[in-house]
């Protein structure tokens, strides 16, 4: 098969292309397309994160800048081992110029680690930065050994942002500042529930008490112990990082057993509207962090769409409600276009990595610049933080839900759609 690269090799070797000897000219100006690799969990439990892939990639390729690119998508099947394997295939067999990856640490970390090892530039998103950065270190327990990456770059928010957003939301309510925590025995639960570096110390600093009964196993059928512990502590707020089936079990049991907190602010379980709809009326006014919504005041540099247009376009094309990952998947392709527009040779990994590091652009999820703002020094070179606000699910008459931003103290440019309401 005659690939672009093989053509360049042979033509350079045989001197056939003496006439067009400016091979180092900007890649965008040449006829050959830049190859983007994209690893995404299109099947398996994380498939919800990838549901906008087809929509976003189609829009990207149809845009003016997109005409210079080719996107090669590989399904990770929600399996970290497979994610690493297909990342390697993309780098070696498909000879990509830049890797894009998103959708939880289970997907971003194996791909980013593979790329770093292979010297392939990678832009990653949609995973809190601590599990992304620290999770890829040789010894996550020893901060002194942590090293920055040469080729891996990531933009998203971190645990400190979640703590701030949750506290701001709770401060809007009149509570006794007693929190019940649901932290499972998995990567997220252990990170959030860690008594030293988890969310507990942050809450304590703001005068809140976290009652953490201990790690439970995912897919537990009974939460009586936690409910009794929360009742005993008179907890008026429930928080945690819970998978959807467990949150449904917990929430129904809490109501059955007469435990009625004023706020339930959980991550993961109520990220997707489908999970909230499964709760029915019990889903009304549940709150969580919001990383992207159709009211975010940002626009796409690729298609000129606003956040609202992008969300509406997705719904029009698929008939499904918009979800938070849509904006971030779209922003990956904005990043790729911007970065490749600033390099002379797309096939030079060092140059591409340098261009990523120099990024300073407005995306549909906010400003991305790897300037270390708001980050500890060890992560400053590789991580950029995007804005995070707090939202509440409001049930409409037809049984569907709207995610309404109720607190924007952490990112005032994002408009609120209401104020925090206590649970009935």
């Amino acid at each position: 098969m005659l690939t672009r690269r093989r053509f360049l090799h042979t033509s350079a070797a045989t001197g056939l292309t003496l006439a067009s000897s400016h091979l180092a000219a900007p890649a965008l100006a040449q006829g050959a397309k830049i190859r983007l690799g994209y690893v995404s969990p299109q099947s398996g439990p994380l498939a919800g994160f990838a549901e906008s892939d087809a929509y976003n990639i189609k829009a990207f390729l149809a845009s003016e800048a997109g005409a210079n690119f080719e996107v090669i998508v590989k399904d990770s099947q929600s399996n970290p081992n497979r994610a690493a394997e297909v990342a390697k295939e993309l780098i070696i067999d498909d000879e990509i110029n830049l890797m894009l990856v998103a959708s939880t640490p289970e997907n971003t970390n194996p791909v980013a680690t593979t790329c770093e090892a292979e010297g392939m530039p990678v832009i990653s998103t949609a995973a809190p930065w601590q599990p992304w950065f620290i999770g890829q270190q040789g010894n996550p327990g020893d901060p002194a050994s942590w090293k920055p990456f040469d080729f891996a770059f990531h933009y998203f928010w971190g645990l400190e942002d979640v703590i701030a957003v949750f506290l701001n939301m709770w401060n809007q309510l009149d509570t006794n500042k007693s929190i019940g925590g649901l932290f499972p025995n998995d990567a997220d639960g252990n990170a959030w529930g860690d008594p030293n570096v988890g969310v507990g110390p942050g809450f304590a600093a703001a005068g809140y008490t976290l009652n953490d009964p201990g790690r439970y196993q995912n897919l537990t059928d009974d939460f009586t112990a936690q409910i009794n512990a929360f009742k005993a502590a008179n907890a008026q707020i429930v928080t945690g990082v819970v998978i959807p089936p467990d949150f449904t079990t917990f929430w129904n049991q809490a109501k059955q057993q007469g435990f009625a907190p004023k706020a339930a602010t959980v991550a993961k379980a109520i990220l997707f509207p489908q999970s909230v709809e499964a709760l029915g009326e019990a889903g009304h006014n549940l709150s969580s962090e919001v990383w992207w919504s159709n009211t975010h005041p940002f626009a796409s540099s690729l298609t000129g769409q606003s956040a609202a247009d992008l969300a509406a376009g997705f719904t029009a094309e698929t008939g499904r409600p918009w979800t938070q990952p849509i904006g971030f998947i779209h922003s990956l392709f904005q990043m790729a276009t911007n970065v490749m527009g600033r390099v002379d040779d797309a096939a030079d990994p060092e140059a591409v990595a340098a261009a990523i590091a120099a990024t300073d652009m407005d995306t549909i999820v906010g400003k991305v610049a790897f300037n270390g703002a708001g980050l500890p020094p060890f992560a400053a070179a590789n991580v950029c933080k995007t804005p995070l606000v707090g939202g509440q699910w409001r049930r409409k008459a037809d049984g569907t839900f709207d995610l309404v931003v109720v607190d924007n103290q952490t990112a005032p440019m994002i408009p609120t759609g209401g104020v925090m309401e206590a649970l009935a």
Binding site: P213, Q217, T224, P245, D246, N252, Q256, Q274, S275
Partner: protein, 287 residues
Amino acid sequence: MIGVDTIVQGVLLGGLYALFAAGLSLVFGIMRLVNLAHGDLIVMGAYLILILVTLSGLNPFLAALVAAPLMFGLGWGLQRLVLNRTLGKDILPPLLVTFGLSIALQNALLEGFSADSRKISAGGLETASADLGIVTVGVMPLLTFASAIAVIVGLNALFYRTALGRAFRAVSDDPVTASLMGIRPAHVFAMATGVAMLVVTVAALYFGMRANFDPAIGPARLIYAFEAVIIGGLGSLWGTLAGGIIIGVAQTVGAAVNPEWQILAGHVAFLLVLLVRPRGLFPRAVD
């Protein structure tokens, strides 16, 4: 106070486990067939009820009534066309076939329903609670427990009061002699799996109303069902209920000490019972 609550909630949870396990217990008791796809069949039943509820707007309980004959037919066909061919002296073929069935079912459900987590909505019943004086319990867990007892009473009546039950017991004891008496084991086995699928429908109804389900969630629910069957003694239906309750109470008591011990406590209880009574609490017959 909290102690009583923990025990009561554990007993009610045991009802759910007994429902998961009753179908398994029935099939195992009659034909020594370990159905590894049992959990996935429950999930499939939940999707079937969900479809009926969504399409027709039926109450979930009525939808389960509609789903039951379909599930019976499916179980009958499954046994007649597939599982009967695997039965024999060797216990490995049925294990392998049901294991394969489990994987095939999960992927078929994933293909048909996507990975979205779904739930059967039961309206206000989901969160309804009943104040019993000392403890406050959910109406739904109470219903689940009552249904588990009803299922076991019903199955016992079927076993010991009807001609079909006599045939079940006969082929279970000695299929060769039973067939000399004019009983066709292949047909009886198919009927047994059909009845087991009726129980699966009941389990699917409560499972689907209790928490979200997705195509991959079946196997996680299978382990407790197995343990309940083994604790109770193979072939004993009341034993299966007792087994479910023992695991349920062990889990809630373990969790009351520390949530980390919740699942472990159930497994430890299972091992302890095996240590003291290797054949389970109420073994029905000597095999």
